[in-house]
């Protein structure tokens, strides 16, 4: 049977590269506008508050609460077929940043909004590390 590789972030994407490199170092990095100091996530070319285009990347905490989630029973991509049911969890971190990751634990069907989660980092290859959430 043909196996399909997991879809992975694009390391040629300059906008996302600091985030991708941060995950490799087990850090969660988000954009901070150098002019108005607003945090921006997901990253974009312009700051919607002041319309400037210069950013720093800062680290945010690795624990937060589930803002919302999805529990998937029919995989939309064959790599995930062996994972169903699996969770996609959006965790709200400090300053309102909400970050996506998977939840592959046995008790996936018990996920609820408000649950406390912390980040775990799954090494995929030399360039890519992806995010998993785990209950605190």
């Amino acid at each position: 049977m043909h196996t399909y590789p997991r879809p992975l972030p694009d390391t040629d994407n300059r906008l996302y590269l600091p985030y991708i490199q941060g995950l490799k170092k087990q850090l969660l990095l988000v954009q901070k506008c150098l002019h108005c100091a607003d945090l921006q996530w997901p990253p974009r070319e312009f700051c919607p508050s002041c319309n400037k285009s210069e950013f720093d990347w800062i680290e945010v905490q690795q624990e937060g609460e589930v803002y919302t989630y999805s529990i998937v029973y029919r995989a939309p991509h064959p790599w995930f077929n062996s994972k169903v049911p699996y969770g996609i969890v959006i965790v709200e971190l400090e300053n309102g940043v909400r970050m996506i990751g998977n939840y592959f634990e046995e008790d996936v069907e018990n996920i609820e909004c408000g649950m406390k989660m912390k980040a775990q980092f799954e090494h995929v290859n030399d360039d890519i590390t992806v995010l998993k959430w785990k209950k605190v």
Binding site: P42, H77, G101, C113
Partner: protein
């Protein structure tokens, strides 16, 4: 009855067959529906001078010029806000004919969403070949985590809604069953002969919680089109009474291509668009006789009822009870069967059904004494559109 913004009217509607499996290309289907709309209006296809292509990439203005023999195309536009495109395109058409830039504008939608790449197929090319907005977000933050298709995006919204409001999940079943009942009255509906019981609904599998298979719309092949003219000229046509466009609007959520990081995932495009549309049309919600509400998922019908103000946040499951949204009820919805049970024609089939209701030729599904109808669209990551029509 007339309204200050009654400058434009729908004079013709066209639909292909709604099927699962066809030899025809998406382009053929769209052109077929466009020609049917001209015939319905009693207008020579060659005299069409505007085309608006709602959603999809399978057709160009050149295709219309060639197939319809258009002599002088004065306006064309592509509207790309997914399921909100059909109604948004209708509103653009109204403004174009009102301004005089063009006089006969087709608005078209449809294609091969069954015979082509199916969103429900699990095909690995889904994450590569569909040009959603926010490509960087999709590629870097969603596809790697197995979030690829709309049913998953909508589940993020639905799960937060249930958490914040403690809304009754039964509301989704009521929408599913009501819509199917209406499909039985519509000879074009894909599910016209397939009954649906509460037991069928509750035993249908979850594809992504909280959505069961029967909360999710059809994938079909087909196309639909409407022809819009300015009201003065429309009144001179003799085949049908014009259906007037009293008003309409589109709206976009904040953080428009990212569901997760907008302040509230419950705030949508129609939240902004609906009050604008009602104000422009100069009508109140109490005057609405029926609504054709974009129903790619049962729950998004409930949410649009709330955001349009027909009921309060979290109360839509209560609102839809006791036959209120059925034919004969206070606000019949999706009297043709909707995307859930008629066909997924990106909501252009909702516009067509609204026209039938207001012409009084909706057959067994006719809303008695229908004067004013609402049609909505919902697309991509929460874009909304709404049109208010009357006869």
């Amino acid at each position: 009855m007339s309204y200050k913004t009654d400058a434009a009217a729908i004079v013709g509607v066209g639909e292909t067959e709604y099927v699962r499996g066809t030899e025809k290309t998406g382009r053929q289907l769209i052109l077929e529906s466009a020609l049917a709309a001209c015939v319905d209006a009693g207008v020579e296809p060659e005299s069409v001078d505007g085309v608006i292509m709602a959603a999809g990439n399978m057709i160009t203005n050149e295709d219309f010029i060639a197939a319809l023999g258009i002599r002088d195309l004065k306006f064309h536009s592509h509207i790309k806000i997914g399921g909100a495109s059909s109604v948004a395109g209708l509103i653009v058409a109204a403004h174009i004919v009102a301004s005089g830039m063009a006089s006969k504008v087709l608005v078209t939608a449809g294609g091969n969403s069954y015979s082509g790449l199916r969103l429900g197929s699990g095909d690995p090319s889904l994450s590569k070949s569909i040009a959603w907005p926010g490509k960087d977000i999709r590629t870097n933050l969603e596809y790697p985590y197995g979030m690829v298709v709309p049913m998953q995006w909508y589940s993020l919204h639905a799960n937060r809604w249930f958490y914040e409001t403690k809304a009754d999940p039964k509301g989704m079943e009521i929408v599913s069953l009501t819509t199917r009942k209406h499909a039985h009255l519509n000879k074009k509906a894909y599910f016209r002969n397939k009954t649906l019981t509460s037991a069928d609904y509750t035993s249908s599998p979850f594809l992504v919680k909280p959505f069961r298979l029967l909360d999710i719309c059809l994938e079909t092949d087909g196309a639909a089109a409407v022809l819009v003219m300015n009201s003065k000229e429309a009144k001179r046509l003799r085949k049908h009474s014009p259906v007037f466009i009293a008003g309409g609007a589109e709206g976009h959520p904040d953080s428009p291509d990212d569901l997760s990081n907008r302040d509230s995932i419950l705030s949508m495009g129609i939240t902004k668009a609906a009050p604008r549309a009602f104000e422009i049309a100069g009508i109140t919600k109490d005057e609405v006789d029926f609504a054709q509400i974009y129903d790619c998922f049962t729950f998004i019908v409930l949410r649009q009822l709330e955001e349009m103000g027909f009921c309060a946040l979290g109360e839509s499951p209560e609102f839809v009870k006791d036959g209120r949204i059925e034919l004969g009820g206070q606000l019949p919805i999706n009297t043709h069967g909707g995307l859930l049970s008629q066909a997924h024609i990106t909501g252009m089939n909702h516009v067509v059904e609204a026209v039938h209701q207001l012409r009084g030729d909706a057959g067994k599904a006719q809303v008695e004494d229908a004067r004013i109808g609402v049609v909505t669209g919902y697309g991509d990551f929460g874009d909304g559109s709404i049109a208010i029509l009357h006869n």
